[in-house]
């Protein structure tokens, strides 16, 4: 599976060297690289089925400091690598229409993808951090060069938020490394170094918040909606689909894996909050409800999806904080599920609809009667929206149900309050559907005339293919969740039992 990383970086380098004048060459090359990555991810997932942790490479990188070049995967990593593979192929398909500096676009794109693969496969804290930072810089350029609304602002905000988060992680990394005796940065070695409880108590929140900034935890989420809206479609699919997962994965693997005692009770409680676990769980719950409520009030179609991401990522963080088997299983599954569904929603809004209508405002989309003129987009959105609401049969249902059950076991109030978020979630999707696609106002004869003259461009094959890929992924996991859960459960069990493996 390590080859997924090398292929992506190699693909990025070659893409940068491709001739500028021939965007179609760059596109085909990008598709080939992404499909190769997906093939490796699927093969690795299939081969790892039923196995525990596999180590691919383990070499000393910097011998004097004990930094390992250690690539390994357990069930959680394999699921997320699979998600990255799917999202990268879909992202290439939905950026088929990029004409400006196409080769550079895909160079940054694959530098980002390579970093993401690397984070999910790192078995060394230092290596993980290196890949994590590699993933930050391309995002800035993807958004600021190829983005839309307020792109430079959105890109800079995102880059600075991410960099502040990663600075916190770096501080935690250095502290853990020196406290453990400066021998090794491998996750396993650090977890077994017996870090003192008092140290874990302050290092855990530092590292957790550092990663959670990228996972869109309230109140550090504000980069997410602006970043998503500013980004080009493929970049917002990746942002919501995999980059936010980097943060959540870091929270799980590093935060909970290395500093399990950071979650212990403080020994005193203040308005019912007696540990970092309570703090972060409540922040997650607030994120769920807040994100959903704000999404309900948006007038820009893409902002709705952006805030819905904040809401859905709240479920991931809440699941992590339940610290029980079912809750954390649900959190990992929700990472996959949200990655696919958010990708689909962004693709429909940002690419299929926006590229034809050139607006994302509900007030302007309404009179266009899109359900009649773009039936494919409308029904694809119905499909994705239903999946996003968490109806049975889609992946979101299984994931959120598990998180809620886990939360109920941990603290019924968490589950009860997040339930509000789900209800509001149904409401904002309905509202978006109705305002954007299924308005009840009838076209005037004049509008009828102009519609016949200005037909929208037909849906192209990459769009069909991308929607199909993402749609099938969410359906398969929704109908038969065991396909992923069999892989996730043992890994989560091992992680909860003894910190990192």
């Amino acid at each position: 599976m390590a080859w997924a990383i090398y292929i992506s970086f190699g693909g990025a380098l070659i893409s940068a060297l491709l001739p500028k004048a021939k965007p179609e060459v760059a596109r085909l090359w990008a598709l080939a690289v992404a499909v190769a990555g997906l093939a490796i991810a699927i093969a690795g997932f299939a081969a790892g089925m039923g196995q525990g942790r596999q180590v691919f490479v383990d070499a000393l990188w910097v011998p004097s400091m004990g930094v390992h070049y250690l690539l390994a995967a357990d069930g959680i990593s394999r699921v997320l690598v699979l998600l990255t593979g799917i999202a990268s192929v879909a992202g290439v398909l939905f950026s088929w229409n990029i004409e400006l500096r196409t080769n550079q676009f895909f160079a940054f794109y694959f530098a980002l993808i390579g970093g993401v693969y690397g984070v999910f496969l790192s078995g060394d804290l230092f290596l993980l951090f290196v890949f994590y930072e590699i993933a930050i810089v391309p995002k800035y350029f993807l958004i600021s060069i190829w983005g839309s609304t307020r792109r430079e602002y959105g890109a800079m905000k995102l880059a600075l938020y991410s960099f502040v988060g990663s600075a916190m992680v770096l501080i935690g990394l250095l502290a853990a490394y020196s406290t453990a005796g400066s021998h090794s940065t491998a996750l396993g070695d650090l977890a077994h170094a017996g870090l003192p409880v008092s140290f874990q108590m302050w290092c855990f929140p530092l590292v957790f918040v550092g990663f959670a900034i990228l996972a869109g935890m309230w109140p550090f989420h504000t980069w997410a909606p602006t970043g998503h809206v500013a980004a080009p479609t493929a970049a917002s699919m990746l942002l919501a689909g995999v980059v936010m997962k980097l943060g959540a994965y870091g929270c799980l693997r590093v935060g909970i894996g290395l500093f399990p005692h950071g979650l212990d009770p403080w020994g005193f409680s203040f308005i019912g909050i007696g540990s970092w676990r309570d703090v972060f769980a409540w922040l997650a719950v607030i994120g769920i409800v807040y994100g959903a409520l704000v999404a309900l009030a948006q007038t820009d179609f893409k902002f709705v999806i952006g805030y819905s991401s904040v809401s859905h990522m709240g479920f991931v963080l809440l699941g992590l904080m339940t610290l029980n088997q079912i809750g954390v299983d649900g959190a990992v599954l929700q990472m996959f599920s949200h990655g696919v569904i958010a990708g689909l929603l962004f693709a429909i809004v940002g690419r299929i609809v926006y590229d034809r209508t050139h607006t994302r405002q509900f007030a302007e989309l309404g009179p266009m009667h899109l359900s009649r003129r773009l039936p494919f987009a409308a029904w694809a959105f119905v499909f994705a929206g239903v999946a996003s609401m968490g109806l049975p049969g889609f992946s979101g249902f299984v994931a959120e149900l598990q998180v809620l059950v886990g939360a109920w076991q941990a603290n019924p109030w968490w589950a009860a309050v997040s339930g509000i978020g789900i209800i509001v979630g149904v409401a904002y999707i309905w509202r978006a559907l109705q305002k954007a696609f299924f308005t009840d106002s009838l076209p005037t004869p004049h509008e009828f005339e102009s519609e016949r003259e200005h037909k929208f461009a037909p849906i192209t094959w990459p769009e069909y293919a991308g929607v199909a890929l993402l749609g099938i992924s969410t359906l398969v996991v929704g109908v038969y969740p065991r396909i992923l859960l069999d892989s996730i459960e043992p890994a989560v069990k091992a992680l909860l039992a003894g910190g990192a493996q």
């Binding site: 910097v62 011998p63 930050i136 600075a167 501080i171 250095l174 020196s178």
Partner: protein
């Protein structure tokens, strides 16, 4: 005084001086009628050959050093050797950039031979201070280096800015040299010696007899003098003007070679301070003190150098980090931006010096940082120089659309600036990590940890201003899209520097092992 030994110990310096004289003779004696282009190239090539010969001399001189009587004057091996080789390599790289800049309209000077020979002499000063163990030798080396730098700054005779910068630099430099001498004289008065280890011992005894206030004054004066060389806040005032006014190759030289040499000097001082328990043990001096066995010294919190010097360095470090990074945010000239970022980088390195380790961890980390920073800074100034030559300005807006005007140059800029910001896997990141890990390894506790956290937080701030430049180069639309041409040799050197930043970043152990190879294994 053994002159044969002195000659052997100063073989590298001698090689440089010979090369410097040779450049002058060839340039003024034989090439007077030849085109400037060829004169520049010949001078630069002779200079580079001199650097190569000097590197060979560093290895050939052996690790004996030079002593007069029982006092060590010039150290050899270890940090001194690393710094010397690094100085020579960096000097050669700055000269490489001059090789093909001789075409009449692009050159900043018509006196290429003089330029190269002054560079070589200044580099010889750098070699001396990185090995010096004696106040007098230190001062001679520092002045040799500084005088060279003043001249280099003023070398662009057509530019008023260049002259202004040189005058400012010179005035500040003269003042700081006075401070330094003043401090040195107190130290001599307190300890009766000019040899660093003796001084540390002597001042310990003196302050035990009540001389602490004088010692404090001396140390503050010395910190002011050396803080000027490394451009630490609040002795940095010359830096932005000099970086802005000096010809680009000279600015690169100031930012790299002079920095490496000054930090090597600071490392010598820090070592001398930490080795004093061992000295006491050897001399059995006037105090009853049982030195702990080598390897695990536990210097008592006591009078003398030990507690004061790190505290001064720490203050300088914190102020430099904060001020340098914040001031860089507001710059519109890329050269000034680099100057303020250099102040910030000096702050990070000072942190490593403030928490200095008895083992070689800290020295290696500091050298690693200053050498890699020097290399990156040369590259950055190289890019600025090319852009400036094409557009006539070093403002941020001069970089607009660079990715279209010269894609290779833009890629080099991307790599170098991201490395300065400390983004992995580039070398700047490893340097930072290495340095901060050394600080935390040396001393646990809340204070070093807080300061490291502060440094990391400010390096997050620094990303913002580096991105401001990259944003111009890659993102913002440009009105002028005419290609920018760079001389092939210059471009080649820049690409090689960027490649080195990437390769050493991906395989950080290469450089670390090379540095560690100079130290006797402990």
């Amino acid at each position: 005084m053994n002159y044969a030994a002195l000659f052997r110990a100063t073989l590298p310096e001698t090689a440089l001086e010979i090369a410097a004289l040779l450049v002058l003779v060839v340039d003024l004696g034989f090439l007077r009628k030849v085109a400037l282009q060829i004169r520049t190239a010949v001078a630069a090539v002779i200079g580079i050959a001199g650097c190569i010969a000097a590197v060979w001399a560093v290895y050939a001189a052996g690790w004996t050093g030079f002593s007069a009587g029982s006092d060590l004057l010039l150290a050899a091996g270890g940090s001194a050797a690393v710094a010397q080789v690094a100085i020579l390599v960096l000097t050669a790289v700055t000269l490489l950039q001059v090789v093909d800049s001789g075409s009449a309209e692009s050159s900043f000077t018509r006196n290429a031979g003089e330029y190269v020979s002054v560079v070589l002499m200044a580099a010889a000063g750098g070699l001396i201070i990185s090995a010096a163990q004696d106040l007098l030798v230190i001062f001679v080396g520092l002045e040799l280096l500084s005088l060279g730098l003043y001249i280099l700054t003023a070398f662009n005779k057509q530019s008023g800015k260049s002259a202004e910068a040189a005058i400012k630099y010179y005035l500040f430099g003269a003042m700081s040299a006075a401070f330094l001498l003043f401090g040195f004289s107190y130290l001599y008065g307190l300890s009766g010696s000019t040899s660093l280890p003796e001084i540390v011992l002597g001042t310990y005894l003196a302050s035990a007899r009540g001389g602490t206030p004088l010692l404090l004054i001396a140390l503050v004066m010395i910190a002011a003098g050396l803080g000027f060389k490394i451009a630490a806040f609040p002795f940095h005032l010359w830096a932005p003007d000099t970086y802005e006014g000096a010809p680009a190759p000279a600015a690169a030289f100031i930012a790299s070679v002079s920095k490496v040499a000054s930090f090597a000097l600071l490392i010598s001082i820090s070592y001398a301070i930490l080795r004093w328990p061992a000295m006491l043990h050897l001399k059995g001096g006037g105090v009853t003190f049982t030195a702990s066995p080598a390897g695990t010294p536990q210097p008592p919190a006591t009078v003398g150098f030990v507690p004061t010097w790190p505290m001064i360095l720490m203050d300088l470090s914190v102020l430099s980090m904060i001020f340098g990074n914040l001031a860089a945010l507001a710059q519109s000239s890329v050269r000034r931006l680099l100057a303020y970022s250099a102040i910030a980088h000096a702050g990070y390195i000072l942190l490593g010096l403030a928490f200095f380790s008895w083992t070689n961890v800290s020295a290696q980390a500091i050298l690693y940082y200053s050498v890699t920073y020097g290399l990156t800074a040369i590259g950055a100034f190289g890019v600025v120089g090319v852009v400036e030559h094409a557009t006539g300005s070093d403002k941020l807006d001069a970089f607009l659309g660079l990715h279209k005007r010269n894609p290779l140059l833009a890629a080099v800029l991307l790599v170098l600036f991201l490395s300065l910001a400390g983004i992995p896997p580039l070398i700047g990141f490893w340097a930072k990590f290495n340095l901060f890990a050394a600080v935390l390894r040396t001393s646990g506790g809340a204070l070093p940890f807080t300061l490291v956290a502060l440094a990391i937080a400010f390096s997050a701030v620094s990303l913002y201003y580096y991105l401001q430049v990259l944003k111009r180069a890659y993102v913002m639309p440009s009105t002028d899209e005419s290609p920018i041409r760079a001389h092939p040799a210059t471009l080649g050197v820049l690409i090689a520097i960027a490649a080195a930043v990437v390769v050493f970043g991906c395989f950080p152990a290469l450089l670390q092992n090379w540095i560690a190879g100079f130290y006797p294994s402990m």
